[in-house]
């Protein structure tokens, strides 16, 4: 089917975003990008994607507003409790054998997954020997992750999820509630480095024992998924672990050979010996 004018405008907008600001969404799954750009066009009041592109290039205030549409920030703490339970019961016993640990939450968005892991590692007594790296491309999301404040109406769901991970503690041990918001204990982020890092354009920055990257790869096209998975392969220590989202898999990837199923039903993989 021939590309519509709108599709051409979107391609040009993404090129402009890349060339001017080095944010590269050109290989994100386009159908979802287009939906979000249509939302942005309506809600930011542009008459066309070309008008949006002009504003993006000439008005610095457009970029952060547009990024908030282009990056998906929907998550919850302990989303898919069975995944976190599998980490607790099947991965933590292996991680215990290391004197020091590095954990990377790739595409951390507003930090829900990071705090979930940080609480899990505290519960399991591994927090003090662990460094967490929480990375994202959206500076506003990183600031939100660093703040660790969530609407109180989400806490019930977070609490239910947490309980289903066979948790020995209560989620309420880790936050204080106030004015409709729950602020998570700042000691949970004492061992966290928050950093701008792109799975599209940036490189390996450390040797990890666990990489958790959930519901990030589904927003990429096949070529970009392979790029990110190659980066994960190169970032993992021998026998390090990779956790993906419930509907993500290595099956179609050219890097599938580099990983072995570890907890198959929870999409937790182990780096094979190189």
């Amino acid at each position: 089917m021939p590309h519509s004018v709108e599709d051409i405008e979107i391609q040009l907008l993404l090129e402009a975003l890349y060339h001017q600001y080095h944010y590269d969404f050109r290989h994100y799954a386009r159908a979802s990008v287009k939906r979000r750009l249509i939302q942005a066009r309506t809600q930011l009041g542009f008459s066309s994607f070309s008008a949006m592109q002009a504003a993006l290039l000439h008005d610095l205030s457009t970029l952060p507003r547009l990024l908030n549409y282009l990056t998906v920030q929907v998550s919850e703490m302990f989303r898919d409790p069975a995944y976190f339970r599998a980490l607790r019961e099947k991965i933590i016993p292996h991680l215990r054998t290391y004197p020091s640990l590095k954990v990377w939450v790739a595409g951390c968005s507003n930090g829900e997954e990071l705090y979930s892991l940080s609480i899990l590692f505290r519960e399991e007594g591994l927090e003090q020997r662990t460094m967490f790296y929480a990375t994202d491309i959206n500076p506003e999301a990183l600031r939100a992750a660093e703040a660790g404040i969530y609407p109180l109406d989400q806490i019930r769901k977070f609490t239910e999820n947490h309980q289903q991970t066979a948790a020995p503690t209560s989620l309420s041990d880790y936050y204080t509630a106030d004015y409709g918001r729950a602020a998570f204990d700042k000691t949970l982020r004492e061992r966290v480095v928050f950093s701008d890092h792109s799975l599209v354009t940036d490189a390996v920055f450390g040797e990890m024992h666990l990489i958790s990257c959930r519901n990030v790869l589904i927003y990429f096209d096949r070529s970009l998924q392979d790029r990110a998975l190659g980066l994960f392969r190169d970032s993992l220590a021998r026998k390090g672990f990779l956790g993906l989202g419930a509907k993500e898999s290595l099956r179609f990837s050219k890097h599938a050979e580099a990983f072995a199923d570890f907890v198959r039903e929870e999409k937790i993989y182990q780096r094979r010996e190189p």
Binding site: M1, H3, D7, A29, R30, A31, S32, K34, R35, R36, V72, V74, S75, N215, L217, I218, Y219, D221, R222, Q225, G245, K247, E248, S249, F252
Partner: protein, 191 residues
């Protein structure tokens, strides 16, 4: 109209979905030449049991849609629970955990609008029984892209709200009963 060649069929259904689909899907012959993509509203916390249910009843292979797989002919795909299902321009499928649309994830509007974008006049889209208005905007997009838009006849649908809302948003949609669809669908030919 069913003589024109198609590339895919997409179906949205909510309340009453299982009974309606139990009439339609098992009736599709093994050589049905198109991919069939389906969004049914199911609770997010539950595993999507539709695949195993319909796998037993259908001649066509039935599977849960996987991220970045190609929509193949003669195959029925269900959106997984708690993920939107989207179609890319090249006919591959994407999943997304973006926020619910019309309080639903998966949302019918998301599938229909992206399928309309990918397949244009080669798309046949059907909005079946349901008690909300998801699918209305999507069906309008399908018709706008030149595709064939169909609603289940609200007069005989188990829950008329959803097809009625889709018909209101897309007045050119064809109105068919399940019995009409049982004749219409097997007559579709591939592009």
């Amino acid at each position: 109209m069913s003589g024109a060649p198609f590339q895919a069929v997409v179906i949205g259904a909510s309340a009453g979905a299982v009974q309606a689909l139990l009439r339609l899907l098992p009736a599709l012959p093994g050589d049905f030449p198109l991919p069939v993509l389906i969004v049914v509203h199911v609770p997010p916390d539950r595993d999507n049991a539709l695949v195993s249910l319909f796998r037993e009843k259908c001649t066509l292979p039935v599977k849960e849609a996987e991220d970045k797989e190609r929509a193949e002919p003669s195959t029925i795909y269900f959106a997984p629970s708690d993920y939107h299902l989207l179609v890319e321009q090249d006919g591959t499928l994407s999943l997304s955990s973006e926020q619910p649309v019309n309080y639903s994830r998966p949302a019918i509007d998301v599938l229909l609008a992206t399928a309309a974008d990918a397949w244009g006049a080669g798309l046949c889209a059907i909005v079946l029984t349901g008690a909300n208005d998801d699918g209305a905007a999507g069906l309008k997009a399908v018709a706008g892209a030149g595709g064939v838009a169909i609603v289940e006849d609200p007069a005989s649908a188990q829950f008329p709200t959803m097809p009625a809302a889709a018909l209101a948003a897309c007045p050119t949609a064809r109105v068919m009963t399940l019995a009409d669809l049982l004749i219409f669908l097997p007559g579709l030919v591939a592009a």
